[in-house]
């Protein structure tokens, strides 16, 4: 136990005495958040110019219009059909929603009725972002009508699950990304120690390898907690990004995520002869995850053929859970399990076990 403590302190001293490590661990993520926060601070989120043509003046149609107005992502323009369609053609509108006459009457009679949505199919974001939002509004509207829930309350629900500012979306992602980097790079010093024969020298003492590994793992978990605290505090102070969910869940996922990426780091170091070959290997794993795990923008905005790649990456799931917990976002694959975290846990756990097995099998001490 004394050995463990002394090793832990030695780890910490070495870490905190290296400026580069401090920069990448603590300054870099904060830098990211501040830059992105500043970029998106003018407009709270991405606004879509949407035209609305009301050809029905029933109260129901009025309410529907009010519901659409509540959506922060929409810059709603009320107008005549001809004018709005022209604006769409000119590129001044991303979409035009048309509520045909007789809309209210049909609903009152319990008949199925159509709302027409016109958009430019060449703009992928229109189809992939706009349509789901409109779909959700109509769904909720439908449900509200059937359950005779007051319409205003319904709008608030809609509002809640979509009132995600870009920065709200980004911060949990940056946190997940920082944990990934921490885990992947944590093993680099061990590879250096192996190269410099320090591991061999330690092998000539009664120090157990398990003690050594445990001290590295515990040390990195502590650093992960410090990173989390720093990111959460800065994001809250500067951009008012909240932690809405359960703190214990958050800490739990921080630990699971760090362990998964530590195992991945060990696995990579098992396949790398020295530091020169380890670094490109880490980059090769890190960059696709950074950009294809929905860290910077929602995965919905990605072209479909990339979905299988994104769906395989552990960072996608870690970021998803942290995002759910922190800012109460929609789960990525909510339909699969009743608990939205369960899928994320299974995928992260799977990666952890696979990486660990490969690391134990192939890691060389000299």
């Amino acid at each position: 136990m004394k050995t463990f403590q002394v090793l832990l302190v030695a780890n910490a001293k070495q870490f905190f005495r290296e400026r580069a490590a401090l920069f990448w661990t603590f300054i870099f993520p904060i830098f990211f958040i501040l830059i992105f926060g500043a970029v998106f601070s003018g407009e709270d989120d991405i606004k879509f110019n949407v035209g609305l043509v009301l050809e029905d003046d029933s109260p129901i149609a009025q309410n529907f219009s009010a519901a659409l107005e509540q959506i922060p992502a929409f810059e709603l323009n009320l107008g005549e059909r001809g004018v709005e369609m022209q604006a769409l053609e000119d590129g001044d509108r991303r979409a035009v929603i048309v509520v045909n006459s007789g809309f209210g009457e049909s609903i009152t009679l319990g008949q199925v009725t159509n709302i027409d949505v016109y958009y430019d199919p060449t703009q992928t974001s229109s189809k992939q972002v706009l349509l789901p939002i409109i779909q959700r509004v109509t769904d909720n509207f439908d449900r509200a009508l059937a359950g005779s829930t007051p319409l205003i309350q319904l709008s608030e629900q809609t509002l809640q699950s979509h009132d995600l500012r870009a920065i709200d979306y980004l911060v949990p992602g940056i946190l997940a990304m920082s944990l990934m980097q921490l885990g992947l790079f944590a093993v680099a010093p061990i590879v250096v120690d192996r190269e410099n024969k320090v591991l061999k020298r330690l092998g000539a003492t009664p120090l157990r390898r398990s003690t050594m590994i445990m001290s590295t793992v515990v040390f990195n978990l502590i650093i992960a907690m410090m990173q989390t605290a720093l990111i959460v505090i800065i994001a809250r102070l500067v951009f008012h990004v909240p932690v809405l969910g359960n703190w214990f869940y958050l800490i739990g996922f921080i630990i699971i995520g760090t362990l998964t990426f530590l195992a991945m780091g060990y696995m990579l170091s098992a396949f790398a002869k020295n530091q020169q070959t380890l670094m490109p290997l880490i980059m090769f794993v890190q960059f696709p995850m950074m950009f294809l795990s929905g860290i910077f923008f929602p995965t919905e905005m990605m072209p479909g053929f990339m979905r299988p790649i994104m769906d395989a990456m552990p960072l996608t799931y870690l970021a998803d859970s942290i995002r759910q917990i922190m800012v109460d976002s929609q789960p990525l694959h909510a339909q699969l399990f009743s608990n939205p975290h369960l899928l994320n846990l299974i995928v992260l756990g799977g990666w952890f076990i696979v990486c660990l097995v490969l690391a134990v099998r192939f890691f060389k001490w000299e």
Partner: protein, 305 residues
């Protein structure tokens, strides 16, 4: 005398190369035992097997009566090890590294006393990366002593050091022996083996070719002294062997060594021969036979080529 290290019929191969080929030896209490041989002769491999950080293919090793194969951790608690190239934690200070290593052992020596012993008092708070080569080497000897070991393993401890640092390390090793500990050292420096070691094993191609006290080894193989010189033209060994007093001749890269039991006679005969045949004889030098000569005689090669 008490046997501290007992090695019998040790073997270790890397693919087709027999790095250690049936090696047996003993190291006794309170002695400095040296393994002398060229690079790649199998010294380091042998030492690392004895330390328990490398596995042998065959053979038995016991350190302090403990079987290394069966209980390497037990052995490691009682030995002190210095590896050939040790660059330690660059961002920890001398004291911090010492304290770290001390924590690996159930019992440890006084760190302050050790720092004083290896003369690093002024650098105790210096980071390892800022130490000079000699200081690093002294630190790694201090680390090898941190558990107050019964036997110290030093792999080429003075390799690449300046003469002053080398003498410091030698004094340190002799001090350690004075405390009743055994020292097992590998080296490819003749003068180191000759000056420092109580007994030397000469090793080549994974085999021990001679073991004894340095002076005994020399006396056993040479009653003669060595005369070295360079020649402006090549002469056959037979011609040089015929010179009076010469018992053996070795020629290498234009450098000639003849061994003679009657140096004045041989030197004057050599000068006559040179004058007679009209060639130059330069850099003439007479010296006592050394372990290098023993190695040369036994293997036909020099240790450092």
């Amino acid at each position: 005398m008490k046997v501290i290290i007992k090695v019998d019929h040790l073997r270790k191969s890397y693919k087709d190369i027999k790095a250690v080929n049936d090696i047996s030896f003993r190291v006794y209490e309170g002695e400095i035992f040296g393994m002398l041989g060229p690079n790649g002769a199998g010294k380091t491999t042998t030492m690392e097997i004895v330390e328990g950080i490398r596995k042998a293919d065959a053979g038995r090793v016991a350190v302090l009566g403990i079987d290394v194969r069966k209980d390497p951790r037990h052995v490691k608690t009682h030995i002190g090890v210095q590896l050939q190239t040790t660059s330690l934690y660059p961002r920890l200070s001398v004291r911090e590294v010492m304290a770290l290593f001390a924590s690996f052992y159930p019992r440890s020596a006084s760190i302050d006393k050790l720092i004083k012993l290896v003369d690093l008092e002024d650098s105790r708070n210096k980071r390892c990366k800022n130490l000079s080569g000699g200081q690093q080497q002294r630190l790694s000897v201090a680390l090898a002593l941190v558990n107050n070991p019964k036997v110290l393993f030093l792999d080429e401890p003075t390799s690449g050091l300046d003469p002053q640092s080398r003498h410091n390390i030698w004094n340190l090793i002799e001090y350690v022996r004075g405390k009743g500990k055994s020292v097992f050292i590998t080296t490819h420096y003749m003068e180191e083996a000759q000056r420092l070691c109580d007994r030397v094993a000469i090793i080549d191609y994974g085999k021990i070719i001679a073991t004894d006290k340095p002076n005994k080894l020399i006396a056993q193989h040479f009653q003669e002294e060595a005369i070295e010189f360079e020649l402006s033209q090549k002469l056959e060994n037979d011609v040089l062997n015929a010179v009076s007093g010469v018992t053996n001749v070795v020629q290498e890269n234009g450098k000639v060594t003849v061994y003679s039991s009657a140096v004045p006679v041989t030197v004057s005969a050599l000068l006559d021969l040179a004058k007679q045949r009209g060639f130059e004889l330069t850099n003439l030098y007479v010296r006592r036979a050394t372990l290098e000569d023993v190695f040369l005689k036994l293997t036909g090669r020099r240790i450092r080529e």
